[in-house]
């Protein structure tokens, strides 16, 4: 389900979910392992309260048969006290049981959420290209809730229900086996009804889930893109589209309401059938003197209590089915192994020179659609390099590969002579500071966006980094300075300011290799020049790579790499390239043609 073609983006293929799957179930049960004690306790509590519920009708029978009918006052009080005692015990136990059970459910959910979240921190980047955020959120939050039901109302309750049913049947048989057997005639009827109900409701239920996922994905995207929608006056259109999803969901829900409205009254009618049978047959037995009044009353009570667990059991169907579907998707996610991970025997870099070498690197995001072709170049330690080239020529891709967001199949990327695939991932990434083309700010403060809540970065380092990129004056102007709030996506800051924040962030982390991918594209020229001066001082001993379209920003570099259609087209210093009169020369001319007066 994960992976697959991009065209299936919003379609969540779902077949009729299984109700029971051994492999899944075994994995689900495994999550109970840390809670063995809890489970045992809960089962015990359940056993006891079930037993109590079984005993009270019997006590009522005794009260009627042995005391009320024969008008026997002695001992009657004791029975009443027993009943009261049992009631109190049941109260206590069911409190404990519910509390323990629900808390266990919450803890298991936390385990699940943490496991999925942790896993999502490891999966490959192209996984995120293929799975929209909305869908992944459904995994972490929605599916996990469905699993909760399995643990709190599923597995253990089923045990309890089965026990109740068994116990009640036993009691009935024990009191009067003939009447019991006659009463049990209704059981197959219930079985058939439940099965039929499940067949129909399952389908409606699956549709419901599918449409709901669609609604959520649509809603999520609409919220994020609301301004765009408003600017294009698409309100009506997109409401219609939303309405379509919504209506589909409504129709499938109404269908399930229908099945539900048929099924439950039928179960109740069947319950009355049992009562009728008891009265008819039991009445006959009383006439023949083979049954007592008390037994009849107890029977009627038992019959009522028999139907509850059966009815609940039929609801478990839905819970199981939902849990199976959810767990399948969750395990599917957990089973997608990252390709990009620490090698088994990671090598530690001894040097900190940071030379970078690409050797015959070819790369495709999607199969066979090569974005980079046989790219080779070398950046010496401490060298300042610029990458230029037309849109889509693969500049950002080079950076993505260097940070090992994606793995290459052909060629090698080496830092100080060591293949990056043999390095530890975080030691690789910690050496690289990168300002990405798409700026992302977190909800928080300006400060937390620069130090990323890393306590080892002191406040004065944050300020120093901000000063280097000329962000500081803006921050000083804000009412709360570095503590000023940053909202989702950095709204409240101008785009240039956001870039400066991201820039300050990269500097604050003091990397060996600094990469700027259009880092100042929305920053004014004045500031840009100032930053460049600062950079040439800061970067004196470090390797530095800049990607830029504004050629004015890259003229201080030692070497320029001109990308063209996924290949390194030219490489050399500014003057060399100008003399070469190639692609760079043409780009340069275009940009400055008017200024050469």
């Amino acid at each position: 389900m994960f992976g697959g073609s991009l065209h299936e983006y919003s379609e969540e293929e779902e077949d009729l979910g299984k109700i029971y799957d051994n492999v899944l179930m075994r994995r689900l049960i495994a999550y109970l392992r840390p809670y063995v004690f809890e489970v045992t306790l809960i089962v015990l509590l359940t056993l006891i309260s079930t037993a109590i519920r079984l005993v009270s009708p019997y006590l009522t029978k005794i009260a009627i048969d042995d005391y009320i009918v024969p008008k026997q006052l002695e001992g009657f009080r004791v029975i009443a006290f027993y009943l009261l005692f049992l009631l109190a015990v049941e109260f206590l136990f069911s409190y404990l049981e519910t509390y323990r059970l629900q808390m266990m459910g919450q803890r298991i959910m936390r385990d699940f959420r943490m496991q999925i979240f942790t896993h999502l921190q490891r999966v490959d980047m192209n996984f995120f290209d293929q799975n929209p955020v909305g869908r992944l959120m459904t995994r972490v939050m929605g599916d996990v809730s469905a699993l909760n039901e399995l643990y709190t109302h599923g597995i253990i309750t089923i045990v309890a229900n089965l026990l109740s049913i068994g116990g009640i049947m036993f009691m009935m048989l024990w009191i009067n086996w003939q009447l019991a057997l006659v009463t049990f005639v209704v059981l197959p009827i219930i079985l058939v009804m439940t099965t039929v109900y499940q067949i129909y409701s399952r389908r409606a239920f699956r549709d419901q889930r599918k449409f709901r996922a669609q609604i959520n994905a649509f809603l999520q995207e609409s919220i994020v893109g609301m301004t765009t929608m408003q600017l294009f006056t698409r309100e009506h259109r997109s409401f219609e589209k939303f309405g379509e999803h919504n209506l589909k969901y409504l129709n499938s829900s109404i269908r399930s309401v229908f099945y539900f409205s048929v099924f439950f009254p039928m179960i109740e009618i069947t319950g009355s059938l049992a009562t009728a049978v008891i009265i008819w047959y039991g009445g006959g037995q009383i006439i023949q003197n083979t049954l007592s009044f008390g037994a009849l009353v107890a029977f009627l009570q038992y019959a009522q209590r028999l139907f509850w667990p059966i009815r609940e059991l039929s609801e478990k169907y839905t819970i199981f089915q939902r849990a199976m579907a959810s767990s399948e998707r969750v395990f599917d996610l957990l089973d997608t192994q990252p390709i990009i991970k620490d090698s088994a025997y990671p090598k530690q870099l001894q040097t900190v020179n940071s030379s970078i070498e690409f050797q015959n690197v070819s790369f495709a995001y999607r199969e066979d659609d090569y974005v980079l072709n046989d790219v080779s170049f070398r950046i010496e330690p401490g060298e300042k390099v610029a990458i230029v080239g037309a849109t889509g020529s693969g500049k950002t891709t080079l950076i993505n590969l260097l940070c090992r967001f994606y793995d290459i199949e052909k060629g090698q990327i080496l830092i100080d002579g060591l293949d990056i695939q043999q390095m530890k991932l975080d030691s690789l990434r910690k050496r690289i500071g990168i300002v990405q083309q798409d700026i992302f700010l977190f909800t928080g403060t300006i400060e937390s966006n620069i130090n990323l809540s890393n306590t080892s970065i002191q406040p004065d380092q944050v300020v120093a980094a901000s000063k280097e990129v000329y962000l500081d004056p803006f921050v000083q102007n804000m009412p709360n300075g570095y503590g000023s709030e940053v909202k989702e996506g950095g709204s409240g800051l101008s785009v240039g300011q956001k870039q400066l924040v991201a820039f300050a962030r990269a500097l604050a982390f003091d990397p060996d290799i600094l990469i700027l991918d259009e880092a100042t594209s929305s920053v004014d020229t004045e500031t840009e020049y100032l930053i460049q001066d600062a950079l040439s001082r800061l970067m004196s001993n470090r390797t530095f790579i800049a990607i830029a379209h504004r050629l004015s920003t890259i003229q201080n570099v030692d070497k320029i790499l001109v990308m063209h259609r996924g290949r390194v087209h030219e490489m050399g210093s500014h003057n060399q390239l100008l003399q070469k009169r190639g692609l760079y020369y043409r780009l340069y001319q275009l940009q400055y043609k008017d200024q050469k007066i």
């Binding site: 983006y9 009260a63 009627i64 005391y67 009918v69 006052l73 009443a80 009631l87 109260f91 069911s94 409190y95 808390m103 919450q106 959420r113 943490m114 979240f117 955020v133 959120m137 959520n216 919220i223 893109g225 609301m226 301004t227 765009t228 929608m229 294009f232 006056t233 939303f242 309405g243 409504l250 109740e268 009562t275 008819w280 009445g283 006959g284 009353v297 009522q304 889509g392 950002t396 940070c403 967001f405 991932l425 990434r429 798409d438 992302f440 890393n454 989702e488 300011q497 259009e518 929305s522 920053v523 004045e526 500031t527 020049y529 504004r550 050629l551 780009l587 275009l590 400055y592 200024q595």
Partner: protein, 551 residues
């Protein structure tokens, strides 16, 4: 259902009165009667469930639609403050709680009151004192319910908040995955998420504790009632005050009360949850949209010419100092104006006020001499093609993204727009051409491809006013040149360009320099260069730089 115990009473009385009173036929008749009554009740119940269940679903449907429609009307400043994850969780998680309240609760309330009412009447007719005694626990129950349900309500609200927070965290972590990875924040993100998780568990703990007491109480108190009845009723029977049949029937009624009472527990709980959630949803719905067609809108305006004027425009984002101060500027229809200025000078703010993404004061922004607040929003925005500084693409096919604003677009029209935006040469290299899926927010396109898609989208149906807010930041100069040339040929449209590149803005009819929220220089390139101000300074710098380089 209710008549069942009545019949039971007769059965028991008959049985009790003597073996000769009762025959097998009579027993059978009673049995059939019970069944018949159940059948009728069942049909009734089916109708009721279907009706109420359907209505609940329909209300949910309407509510979801309203929620969406409402959000559509909200202005950007509102979304600036709200977290997407939070809004989402209200639209999903909270709406669920509301639907559960509507569906089940209403059914059960109806059931429970009918049951309770009838059973009560019949019980009272059998024996008043017994009834009173058996009902003693119920007022206690009512008080307890009051107490606990208020707590449940408040706690549930807190839980939903906690859920929203987790939701937001996940959403942000996943959206910012590239930053998380680049800065190896995985571990700290995991820790942070776990903190929220633990917090959520402990929020739930309080709620669960309440719930765990709550439900058993609904069994405990009626159970006590039943025991009181068994005890006193039993005594009554022994003393011959009531018949055994009455006693049995009474017992049956009381045990029938237990279920609705337990149900009532459910309802109260659902109610607490549902109302907490309704509160959370209403909080959103009650926010009035600020930017809409107000009084004084002239509905007759359906077309605009594209002459823009700012008169003494001053603007501040909510409760902060003004970002734009006393802006006066006239832009002739069909002319090109370039806005330059330092980061944070207010360029984006200025152009955002034209299509009323943010709300300008009355009497400060005019198009064709009409206050924009008197122009129908739809007309206003339909006349404007805008490429925002951070453009948003939908996770859809490339062609659908380009044709987003057009009601119907032919393949050729899409192709023309793509060509004019300089996108065609790129598309030719995509294996799926126009059918390429661009991924969420367009993330499988390069930065420049994304911007050009946004440009193509804006010029798909030629607008009267074209606003390009730094739309070439990720586009190489060569391509930019070509695009600008093509846009000129688009026809008579007022163009506003924001850029940091002199080469982009040079050719404009008018160049406006914004500094700290004020217009400090206006004029053509030549004018400004000779004015020796900010613009000239930037220009000089670039020239200087260039001279050094060409040495």
């Amino acid at each position: 259902m209710l008549i069942g115990p009545m019949i039971l009473k007769y059965v028991v009385d008959d049985l009790n009165q003597g073996r000769d009173q009762i025959t097998r036929e009579k027993v059978l008749l009673y049995a059939l009667l019970i069944l018949g009554v159940a059948l009728v009740g069942g049909v009734f119940r089916f109708g009721q469930r279907r009706l109420i269940g359907g209505v609940a679903r329909r209300i949910e449907y309407e509510l979801r639609g309203d929620f969406f429609k409402h959000l559509q009307k909200m202005q950007k400043s509102y979304f600036d403050q709200m977290d997407t994850g939070d809004l989402m969780s209200r639209a999903t998680n909270d709406l669920d709680a509301v639907h559960r309240l509507l569906g089940f609760a209403i059914i059960f309330i109806a059931d429970a009151t009918v049951f309770f009412g009838f059973a009560l009447v019949i019980m009272l007719r059998i024996d008043v004192t017994l009834t009173m005694l058996a009902l003693i626990p119920y007022p206690i129950l009512a008080v307890l319910v009051q107490l606990i349900s208020k707590n449940l309500h408040n706690n549930f609200e807190r839980i939903q908040e906690g859920f929203s927070k987790m939701n937001t965290k996940v959403q942000e972590n996943l959206s910012g995955v590239r930053v998380v990875r680049a800065y190896t924040l995985e571990q700290s993100e995991i820790e942070e998420f776990d903190r929220q998780n633990l917090n959520f568990v402990s929020l739930n703990q309080v709620f669960i504790r309440l719930e765990a007491i709550f439900f058993p109480i609904f069994r405990l108190l009626p159970g006590i009632g039943a025991i009181v009845l068994l005890w006193l009723g039993g005594l009554h029977v022994m003393q011959g005050k009531i018949m055994l049949g009455d006693f049995v029937a009474f017992n049956a009624y009381l045990s029938m009360l237990i279920r609705p009472v337990i149900m009532l527990g459910f309802i109260v709980n659902r109610f607490a949850q549902g109302t907490a959630s309704i509160d959370r949803i209403n909080l959103i719905l009650n926010h009035k949209p600020e930017i809409c067609d107000e009084e004084g809108v002239d509905e007759k305006i359906t077309e605009l010419n594209g002459e823009i004027e700012f008169r003494h425009l001053t603007f501040a984002y909510s409760n902060s100092s003004p970002v734009l101060k006393d802006i006066n500027l006239k832009i002739d229809s069909g002319s090109t104006v370039a806005i330059v200025g330092a980061t944070g000078a207010g360029k984006t703010t200025l152009v955002d006020l034209i299509p009323r993404i943010y709300q300008p004061e009355r009497g400060s922004v005019f198009i064709d001499g009409i206050d924009t607040r008197n122009i129908p929003l739809k007309t206003l925005r339909a006349s404007i093609g805008m490429v925002q500084q951070e453009s948003f693409l939908f996770s859809d096919l490339l062609k659908n993204n380009i044709a987003y604003g057009a009601d119907s677009a032919t393949e050729t029209e899409i192709e023309v727009a793509a060509r004019n935006a300089g996108l065609l040469s790129q598309i030719d290299e995509f294996p799926n051409q126009f059918d390429t899926h661009v991924g969420e927010r367009g993330k499988t396109l390069s930065g420049g491809q994304r911007q050009r898609t946004a440009i193509a989208r804006a010029i798909m149906s030629p607008p009267k006013i074209l606003i390009l807010d730094d739309a070439f930041a990720s586009v190489d100069t060569h391509t930019e040149d070509t695009i600008l040339g093509r846009l000129k040929q688009l026809g008579n449209c007022t163009t506003i360009l924001i850029s940091h590149r002199i080469s982009t803005v040079k050719a404009a009819d008018q160049i406006v320099v914004l500094h700290d929220g004020r217009i400090v220089e206006v004029g053509t390139h030549q004018d400004l260069v000779s004015q020796n101000g900010i613009y000239a300074n930037i220009h000089q710098k670039q020239l200087l730089k260039e001279e050094i380089e060409s040495l």
